[in-house]
């Protein structure tokens, strides 16, 4: 995409800016849609309708909420570290935004096609922890501090099983680049990594159960990484009121909000890239049938978004079904169950790929 823009505009700097700004074009509408979806999913699961007033069936509710948030007073309490307090929400958002740079939306568009794409994502999402800690500490509020410390401990712990599963996928595919990884799972859905990858052999069948296990482990730990129920400790509204963003209001609060939904989609997209073929269609392309090559990238964006949104939907489904675990149980799940199983999975997949 970047090369294409350079050819089109003829200026590398402007092209770089446009290329970098493209994810915003996706994130903001996604958040507007995602928040509405969350409220609709919650509503229908709970035998009610959700927002119904603004627009047809409330489709403009989030837009209205967004403008309301923009108008809100930006409250900064006394006795806090103003510099870092103001900086934290942007850092959190930057952390989740930077992840989008390495996500392959289609074969033609990837923000930055770096060879170390997947490690870049793991590394850069660590920025979120710094931002959350900053927010909690500078708020000078005990609830915020509890939320922030829980969140930091949680995200750091759950990165280990996530990284282990990613490592096993790297062993299987032999690449760290997400674009390449997606490209390997081309054609139909039985070529997806969760069904053992594109290569037809005896090992493919052997891999399937461990791929499913890996997917489950990865999905559970990704839930914890984005602080969703049943692991929404940092925000646990019944205990900590709002967690690390209790003291924020107006646009800074909406930054946290934006980051949360952006993160939800990012991990879901990662799940689909690692296990479910990334941007590839499960049933072939209309563009191929019609002979319109130009249609394929758009179809790929559609499939990428659809898979991502499906996993976001599962996150919402879980949120409105399950209670919340306690903070020590959360750590127990991670250190006593997820990490050993992830190790075991890594080991077995390693042995199978060697056969």
């Amino acid at each position: 995409m970047y090369d294409f823009l350079v050819d089109l505009i003829g200026n590398e700097i402007i092209a770089a800016f446009i290329s970098a700004a493209l994810p915003v074009v996706f994130i903001v509408p996604f958040v507007i849609f995602g928040v509405l979806m969350e409220r609709k999913v919650a509503g229908h699961m709970q035998d009610r309708l959700g927002p119904m007033r603004v627009g047809y069936h409330g489709i403009l509710q989030t837009v209205a909420d967004f403008f309301k948030l923009l108008q809100k007073e930006d409250i900064v309490a006394d006795g806090i570290d103003k510099k870092f307090f103001n900086f934290a929400p942007y850092l959190v958002f930057a952390g989740s935004y930077a992840v989008y740079a390495a996500l392959p939306f289609s074969s033609k568009y990837i923000g930055a096609d770096i060879d170390l794409g997947i490690f870049y994502i793991i590394a850069v999402s660590g920025l979120v922890v710094a931002g959350i800690l900053m927010a909690g500490w500078t708020s000078n509020n005990k609830y915020s501090l509890y939320g922030a410390l829980r969140s930091a401990a949680q995200i750091v712990s759950y990165e280990i099983p996530t990284a282990l599963i990613i490592l096993s996928m790297v062993m299987l595919t032999g690449t760290l680049s997400l674009a390449e990884m997606s490209e390997m799972q081309t054609a139909y859905f039985w070529n997806w990594n969760i069904f053992g990858g594109a290569e037809w052999s005896f090992t493919k069948l052997l891999l399937i159960p461990f791929m499913f296990a890996g997917f489950l482990l990865f999905y559970i730990s990704s839930l914890a990484e984005v602080n969703r129920t049943p692991f929404d400790m940092p925000e646990a509204e019944s205990e900590l009121v709002g967690g690390y963003h209790t003291e924020y209001s107006g646009i800074k609060f909406s930054m946290f909000f934006l980051a949360e939904y952006a993160n939800m989609f990012a991990v879901s997209a990662l799940v689909s890239v690692l296990f479910f073929g990334g941007y590839h269609s499960p049933i072939g392309y209309v563009g191929n049938t019609l002979g319109l090559e130009a249609l394929i990238p758009f179809e790929q964006v559609f499939w990428f978004a659809a898979k991502g949104i499906f996993f976001v939907f599962v996150q919402m489904w879980l949120r409105w079904t399950l209670p919340r675990v306690r903070v020590d149980q959360l750590m127990t799940i991670c250190w006593k169950y997820l990490i050993p199983y992830a190790f075991l999975n890594l080991l077995i997949i390693g042995i199978i790929t060697l056969i």
């Binding site: 609830y143 209670p323 919340r324 149980q329």
Partner: protein, 371 residues
């Protein structure tokens, strides 16, 4: 070299989503572990008992509504029973039955709020709305009968404010058959959920002797394995005519008297209340509900104590009459107030998140704690 550390004192409430009202808790913490919980009360104090002295006997009834606002019918029930005992009034059979039906419906409604908000405290939002949806049906029944949905002023000294609506019996039966499967649904969704059990089993264990020493009553006492229910042990009104069980905590998921037991006893009690309502509907006699309402309510000088089994525990009214139109003194033994006193005992050694779980399992209503 020892690092100098100090305890963290966390102020929880009065404006906190999970203190079930304006309760303030001063929590001393060692890391995330609670060393002491000190409840501060009085944010909702409305001088009910003092007010009652300046009012005539029937005028006190709407004030009793406002104590435990989730079980207003039962508050009315206890008060009118006390005044009737003082005056020696025998109410007609139909009135007795209607009172029992209303009281048990109210108990179910109150338990629904308790269970729903408990799920909310643990982080499960959906069962809360399912239970509120069903509670709506009970409120509709009340609204049909007396026009009010929360504060009824329905039971009068010697009678009732309105007779039943012609559709009431049919609709109550419909409600019973509608609600039974829904209890199963809530059980599947919340009660036997692995995470919910992890959060509540073996948390906040209340041994039977501690419970008795603190004067704990109601579902909280029964969850500790003590079979004590005033409807059976000291029957008032016509409770001795009905066939029902007293569910007690058995430590199914952990230890007897833990949060899960306190929760589950309420689930089982709803079924028993449904049974009582069914029997009462079958036996409901015809008659005039107003025939024993006295023209002038002026009890003779003396005092009376009447206790009833509220949804929260033992609700007692102690009334002193000096022979005038106004009570000389009305003292209420509020179950929520007494039950709350054990909080520090239960919370010590648990984590911050468990305070919420324990407080929710005690099921307090601040209107009754502060009065």
């Amino acid at each position: 070299m020892a690092i100098k550390t100090e305890q963290l004192i966390l102020n929880m409430g009065p404006q906190h989503p999970s203190t079930h009202g304006v309760l303030r808790l001063e929590v001393e913490l060692e890391g995330e572990v609670v060393t002491k919980v000190k409840p501060h009360l009085g944010y909702l104090h409305r001088c009910f008992e003092k007010h009652a002295e300046a009012m005539s006997y029937p005028q006190v009834i709407p004030y009793t509504d406002r104590m435990d606002y989730l079980a207003s019918m039962y508050n009315n029930f206890g008060y009118v029973l006390a005044v009737e005992k003082l005056m020696g009034i025998k109410v007609p059979e139909r009135v007795e039955y209607i009172r029992i039906i209303m009281g048990e419906l109210q108990r179910i409604a109150s338990h629904m709020v308790a269970l729903g908000t408990y799920g909310l405290d643990i982080g499960a939002f959906t069962p809360f709305l399912y239970l509120f949806r069903d509670r709506e049906k009970i409120l509709t029944l009340f609204e049909m009968t007396c026009g009010a949905r929360l504060l009824y002023n329905y039971m009068w000294v010697g009678g009732l404010s309105h007779d039943l609506h012609p559709d009431f019996v049919r609709m109550t039966r419909e409600f019973i058959s509608y609600f039974r499967p829904n209890v199963v649904e809530v059980n599947e969704l919340l009660t036997f959920n692995k995470i919910f059990i992890e959060r509540t089993a073996n948390i906040g264990i209340l041994p039977a002797d501690t419970a008795i020493n603190y004067g704990i009553t109601g579902p909280n006492l029964r969850a500790s394995g003590v079979k004590w229910d005033l409807r059976k042990n000291d029957p008032y009104s016509i409770y001795d005519r009905f066939d029902f069980e007293i569910p007690v905590g058995e430590g199914t998921m952990g230890t007897v008297g833990d949060c899960w037991d306190r929760y589950y006893v309420r689930v089982l009690e709803m079924e028993q209340s449904l049974r009582i309502i069914e029997q009462a509907l079958d036996q409901l006699p015809e008659g005039d509900i107003n025939e024993s309402i006295p023209k002038r309510i002026k009890p003779p000088a003396g005092s009376v104590y009447q206790r009833v089994e509220n949804s929260k525990g033992e609700l007692g009214y102690f009334i002193i009459s000096d022979g005038t139109l106004n009570p000389f003194r009305v003292k209420v033994r509020a179950p929520s107030f007494v039950n709350l006193s054990v909080l520090n005992e239960l919370c010590r050694g648990h984590m911050v998140a468990d305070i919420i779980a324990i407080l929710g399992s005690i099921d307090i209503v601040l209107g009754e704690v502060d009065r």
